[in-house]
């Protein structure tokens, strides 16, 4: 836990404690004079970076309970600010503590306004602290700090009056339903008075407080009250019995030095350091919400906290990186070790394999290559095609067409049909094939021929060609036959010229061209 400097200021002195490791390490008392202040500055010198928590134990304190309309944000801040100025115009040390909400229809906010009405009390001490550069975390009133006592001692009495002898006098703090309501400080001379006088004084002050509470309508005189005598120096002796005897409606508990030490966890030695050590300890454990210091005073502490926050974030990032990096390094080393082991085993397996291969017949390639080569060669041979089949189909068809005279014959085995010269038509499967995909191969052929003899009878020539094409198409191995070119182009979209007076002996030629596509499965 971070170090803290805890200071309790009263009218005549200040107690300063160095809080480290969740306990008070050192506690000193300084008188409110020049020498005391000088000693205080010396005390601060080695602790100039430690945040300071100031606590004031003085008569010049004021508490007011008020309800305000329920508001939020800046409206609430300005309204509370106005109230504080209205109540404590002359004090810079004021605080408003929102304690809850009323149970009525409006659900108003319940505030405890508190202030230190004599700012001079802390001026010298605060100046010494700021001179040394210590960040000021806050300024608190001692009764506010003592609220932590209820949790620490597990006090649950509905009306509780805590009575303790402080360096500034006798402090009586009243809690109703575990919430702070009122505190009084009365000056007395505890060191010199007789024990009987001290007990009588305490009893009187308790009675006065009860009357005051009754007057303020906080409690009635009939209500039971629990008094806790916090006797740090075992100086009240039998006060509890005497007070209970004098006040029948009152139960009084006495907490001596040993009990305080055991219940609060403060060593006996520390308890003897100062009268304020109990409250310094409570302040060290947890600072109350009610802070009298303005934001100007606590700006240094705000920066201190932010700096620590940023450093903590940096440390967290560094730690996360170290953990992450460490985990990665561990896994890296583990993977490397496994890889080495795998490599060793691979070498072992390879050696065993090499040993086994010595028994193999000598071969020019691996077994897989041998097998694949034989299989692929067989498949290649099976996939081979020749023009022989198409030539046979054409020869058969020609037997019935003696007028057909072949001039040129073409054959192709490939994914596309043979070029038919200007009128090549791609089949549907070819045009639909996506890029990069090899189409299945097929056989196709092209016949260039003419009708011999030809005497100008185009109708007869075309009929002969079509009959020839039909015969080709009837062969079971043929998938498709297309007449690509005829002796006479009768396409109505083209011009046509000629002469019917021409000599029939000189009628020219009747050339044609036929494309044949075989079915894919043909050998």
């Amino acid at each position: 836990m971070a170090d803290k400097l805890l200071i309790c200021i009263s009218a005549g002195q200040a107690s300063a404690a160095h809080w480290t490791g969740s306990k008070i390490a050192d506690c000193r008392v300084f008188a409110h004079d020049e020498s005391g202040l000088a000693a205080f500055k010396e005390f601060l010198a080695p602790l100039s970076t430690v945040p300071v928590y100031l606590m004031v134990d003085a008569v010049e304190e004021d508490y007011r309970f008020e309800t305000l309309p329920h508001t939020y944000g800046s409206d609430r801040a300005s309204m509370v600010g106005r109230k504080l100025k209205q109540h404590y115009r002359n004090s810079p040390y004021t605080s408003a503590w929102l304690q809850g909400r009323e149970s009525g229809k409006r659900h108003d906010d319940r505030y405890l306004f508190s202030a230190l009405t004599n700012p001079e009390l802390v001026t010298d001490w605060l100046q010494a602290v700021t001179e040394k550069g210590n960040p000021v975390a806050g300024i608190y009133l001692l009764p506010m700090v003592s609220t932590a006592l209820l949790d620490k001692l597990q006090l649950k009495a509905p009306n509780l009056l805590v009575v303790a002898q402080h360096s500034a006098g006798l402090r009586l703090t009243f809690f109703r339903n575990r919430q702070f309501r009122l505190s009084r400080l009365t000056r007395n001379d505890s060191d010199t008075a007789e024990e009987a006088d001290r007990i009588r004084f305490i009893s009187e002050e308790i009675s006065n407080t009860r009357l005051y509470l009754h007057a303020l309508r906080i409690t009635t005189l009939d209500e039971p009250l629990t008094v806790l005598l916090l006797d740090r120096q075992d100086e009240f002796g039998d006060a509890a019995q005497v007070i209970a005897h004098d006040n029948p409606g009152l139960s009084c508990q006495h907490l001596g030095r040993a009990e305080i030490a055991s219940k609060l966890g403060i060593s006996d030695e520390q308890l003897g350091l100062s009268r304020d050590v109990i409250y310094l300890y409570l302040l060290g454990l947890k600072a109350p919400a009610s802070n009298l210091a303005s934001s100007a005073i606590t700006s240094g502490f705000r920066h201190y906290s932010m700096r620590h926050g940023v450093y903590a974030a940096a440390a967290a990032v560094a730690l996360a990186a170290v953990v992450w990096g460490g985990l990665n390094t561990y896994q890296f080393m583990d993977a490397n070790a496994q890889a080495l082991e795998a490599a060793r085993q691979t070498a072992q397996q390879q050696a065993l394999y090499q040993e086994a291969t010595r028994q193999f017949p000598a071969a020019p390639a691996s077994a897989e290559n041998l097998k694949k080569a034989v299989e692929v060669a067989q498949k290649l041979r099976e996939s081979a095609r020749t023009p022989e089949m198409l030539m046979g189909i054409i020869s058969t068809a020609l037997e019935a067409s003696p007028a057909i005279y072949l001039r040129e014959f073409g054959w192709k085995y490939g994914p596309t049909e043979i070029e038919s010269g200007g009128t090549a038509v791609r089949s549907d499967s070819e045009s639909a094939a996506p890029a990069g995909v090899t189409l299945p191969r097929k056989q196709s052929g092209l016949i260039d021929g003419e009708i011999r003899p030809f005497r100008g009878d185009y109708r007869a020539a075309i009929d002969t060609i079509n009959e020839f094409a039909d015969r080709l198409g009837r062969d079971p191995a043929v998938q498709q036959v297309r007449v690509v070119r005829l002796p006479l182009n009768v396409n109505p979209t083209l011009a046509l010229t000629g002469n019917t007076l021409d000599n029939r002996e000189q009628a020219g030629t009747a050339e044609f061209r036929i494309l044949i596509v075989l079915k894919p499965r043909n050998p």
């Binding site: 700006s299 890296f332 795998a342 060669a377």
Partner: protein, 203 residues
């Protein structure tokens, strides 16, 4: 947060940025190292698995070698397995021309390239290559063409596939004598297979 707060936090923020950068760098570097080592491990484990499988199958491998060695050696001699043997092809052309009693063969062989239909035969680990050959053969009649190809195949000089042929009549002027009447132009693919380099050669 105002300017004063920022000024007060100047050094802590610089320190935070430095720490974040260093941390990010350290994490990135260690991640990269880890990734690299895990890839290496995966590779080593794959190799180990392959080595184990190969060892386990060494008995089967021996049987495969015994079964296919003869066929492979025949293919080697026949010019299919291994490197191209173009001299053998030319000798085969010459002999096929003689045996088919043709009038000579003109040839043109292109550079070797991957066989475009290799995927049909799933040849891995072999690599199939082809050299395209254009032939011009003068024929007495149509049957000579197939007689020539059959004679060429009998030479066992390599594995060839006929891709395309065109046969046209030659102008003989009507004279009937022993002379070429047809001209055939054909394209062949001489296909060869090279053993895959991934699989080592056996002793």
């Amino acid at each position: 947060m105002n300017a004063e707060d920022l000024k007060a936090l100047q050094f802590p923020l610089i320190a935070l940025v430095c720490v974040v950068l260093l941390a990010a760098g350290a994490v990135y570097y260690s991640d990269a190292l880890l990734d690299q080592s895990q890839k290496k491990l995966a590779q080593e484990q794959k190799q180990l698995k392959e080595a184990r499988t190969r060892l386990q199958r060494s008995g089967d491998e021996k049987e495969v070698i015994v079964q296919y060695l003869g066929g492979y050696q025949q293919l080697e001699r026949g010019g299919f397995a291994g490197e191209e043997k173009r001299i053998n092809w030319l000798d085969a052309l010459r002999l096929a021309n003689q045996q088919a009693e043709l009038f000579g063969v003109e040839y043109q062989i292109s550079t070797q390239k991957p066989y475009p239909y290799a995927a049909e035969f799933n040849p891995a680990p072999l690599t199939l290559a082809e050299s395209a050959m254009k032939l011009r053969v003068r024929l007495l009649h149509g049957d000579d063409l197939m007689r020539f190809f059959n004679a060429l195949a009998r030479q066992n000089a390599g594995l060839f596939l006929i891709d395309e042929c065109k046969v046209r009549r030659l102008d003989t002027g009507g004279v009937i004598r022993f002379q070429p009447n047809l001209m055939a132009e054909c394209e062949l693919s001489w296909v060869t297979a090279k053993p895959g380099s991934a699989t080592e050669k056996k002793p």
